[in-house]
């Protein structure tokens, strides 16, 4: 398999792409939403580089997971905080690793409980090609095919690093 990419250069490239993407669509008042925990770190980094004055929120999707019955709640669910009005807003939804697409499904459901955004742009650092739902990233750092039984995890917040682990379930 290929080596895991360095996070720093990926972030730079994503920030450039995202700036262009927002310009092309004439979105000048976006709001950032990071998904706990890794997505928040990536969102904070992009926020700094792309639009430091834009509002920034965080989402913990534990209450919206579709495997709650199998796995229950995690020990600690952090509160979701969206310190802005979602209605009519252009949202930039950020996660670290896009895998099955189920986290993004849950995040979209949660966002819509707060209001009706004008648009949602999905940004992820890595795409592990193992999709189970029709979800794709608008801005993507890198794609990676993982051997079976392996998971990739982002550790941080500083330094931000990708590591390979055995899957827990």
């Amino acid at each position: 398999m290929s080596a895991l990419p360095e996070v720093g250069p990926l972030l730079q490239q994503m920030a450039d792409q995202l700036s262009r993407y927002l310009q092309e669509r004439q979105i000048d008042d976006p709001a950032f939403v990071g998904i706990h925990t890794g997505g928040v770190w990536i969102a904070e980094a992009l926020h700094q580089q792309v639009a430091p004055n834009a509002p920034m929120g965080t989402l913990d999707i534990a209450f919206y997971r579709d495997d709650f019955e199998q796995h229950g709640l995690p020990q600690r669910v952090r509160p979701s905080e969206l310190p802005f009005t979602v209605d009519g807003r252009h949202l930039i939804l950020v996660d670290d690793v896009l895998m099955t697409g189920r986290t993004i499904r849950a995040a979209l459901n949660e966002l819509f409980d707060y209001g009706r955004p004008a648009s949602v742009t999905l940004v992820t650092l890595l795409d592990i090609e193992a999709r189970q739902l029709p979800v794709r990233a608008d801005i993507l750092g890198a794609s990676l095919a993982l051997p079976a039984g392996q998971r990739v995890k982002l550790t941080g917040p500083s330094p931000l690093q990708l590591t390979l682990n055995a899957a827990t379930h």
Binding site: F63, Y64, F68, R76, P79, D113, Y114
Partner: protein, 331 residues
């Protein structure tokens, strides 16, 4: 009847599957419950106060005894978890036609209920239901006789933790009719389990149960001695019907000796919390100025009660589901 094996409440992995009593539950589990409730508090502040955890599940509130606050907060908690809710006020329904508790619940189970929230006048009723009537349904005790009221105790613990923090440094006084109070029993057990070093009960001798010392509490008959330097005062409701049984001389006498007034509250720490499970009797056990005063968190308790009940329901539903899957795999 009120003695119960602790494993009845837990599944094969030690997760909660019924919530019947605080007795026998570990400090870790109670802390997990409080942490989960903390997370749910934020949901109550959203525009859409709902999360989809119990979508498609049916929760039956089965109340054999009247209650407004407890039933409505359980109902709200279930609805905020997206469950469907049935409210059954049994005292005015089939039992008056002669149906037994067993038959009533069998019928509800046949309607594919996933959870029963039970309030009953007899101690041990929720336990009986969990053990003998509906093994696959999660049973939550919403108060049984003078035995236990575990969700009230946990909402009291959440209130104390959010306003005062670490239980290991606190003095907590419980004042009033301890003898008949399921709230007092559950609170003493919860405080003990969470490591509170100084639990005081303050009551006249006639309103204290035998063997109260087994709970690891200090007993005071004089309010003015017992309240000294406490961090938290939990007042209990004086049930007027007790007066008739000759345990108390009169309401006025009780208020003079055990009522929480501005004067008696001044004996506690200056910022001591004032709590009460409700409904309060103004001028019977608590002075209006104290109930509405700056140290009172009585209405906060109601808000926290919803989050605690959301936590209990989602944890018990997970525990019950995973127990069922485990049993199916074993067969």
């Amino acid at each position: 009847m009120t003695q119960m094996p602790q494993h009845l409440q837990l599944n094969h992995q030690g997760q909660l599957r019924h919530f019947l009593t605080i007795e026998g539950l570990s400090r870790e589990l109670l802390t997990e419950l409080l942490d989960t409730a903390d997370s749910f508090l934020e949901v109550g502040e959203r525009a859409v106060k709902k999360v989809p955890l119990l979508r498609g599940k049916t929760v039956c509130n089965v109340f054999f005894e009247n209650s407004t606050r407890t039933r409505t907060t359980f109902e709200l908690a279930a609805k905020r978890l997206s469950a469907d809710v049935l409210n059954l006020n049994i005292s005015t329904s089939s039992t008056s036609k002669g149906e037994t508790l067993y038959d009533t619940l069998q019928n509800l189970e046949a309607m594919a209920a996933d959870m029963f929230v039970v309030r009953h006048g007899d101690s041990g009723a929720a336990h009986f239901i969990a053990e003998h009537v509906c093994p696959d349904v999660a049973v939550i005790n919403a108060g049984d006789g003078n035995h236990a009221h575990p969700t009230q105790a946990m909402l009291d613990m959440l209130t104390i933790r959010r306003h005062r923090g670490d239980f290991e440094k606190l003095s907590v006084a419980i004042v009033g009719d301890i003898l008949h109070s399921r709230v007092a029993r559950s609170n003493m057990q919860a405080l003990k389990t969470l490591g509170c070093p100084d639990i005081r009960v303050i009551a006249p001798r006639t309103l204290l149960p035998d063997g109260i010392e087994q709970y690891g509490v200090r007993v005071f008959n004089d309010l003015r001695v017992g309240l000294r330097d406490v961090d938290v005062v939990i007042m209990l409701r004086l049930q007027r019907e007790r007066m008739q049984s000759g345990l108390l001389p009169s309401e006025g006498e009780f208020y003079r000796l055990y009522g929480l007034t501005r004067e008696t509250l001044a004996l506690a720490k200056p910022d001591a919390l004032v709590m009460h499970p409700g409904p309060i009797n103004r001028g019977v056990e608590i002075e209006s100025e104290v109930a509405d005063g700056p140290q009172s968190v009585i209405l906060k308790q109601v808000t926290y009660g919803i989050a605690v009940r959301m936590a209990v329901m989602s944890m018990a539903m997970t525990g019950q589901t995973s127990q069922r899957q485990h049993t199916q795999e074993a067969n």
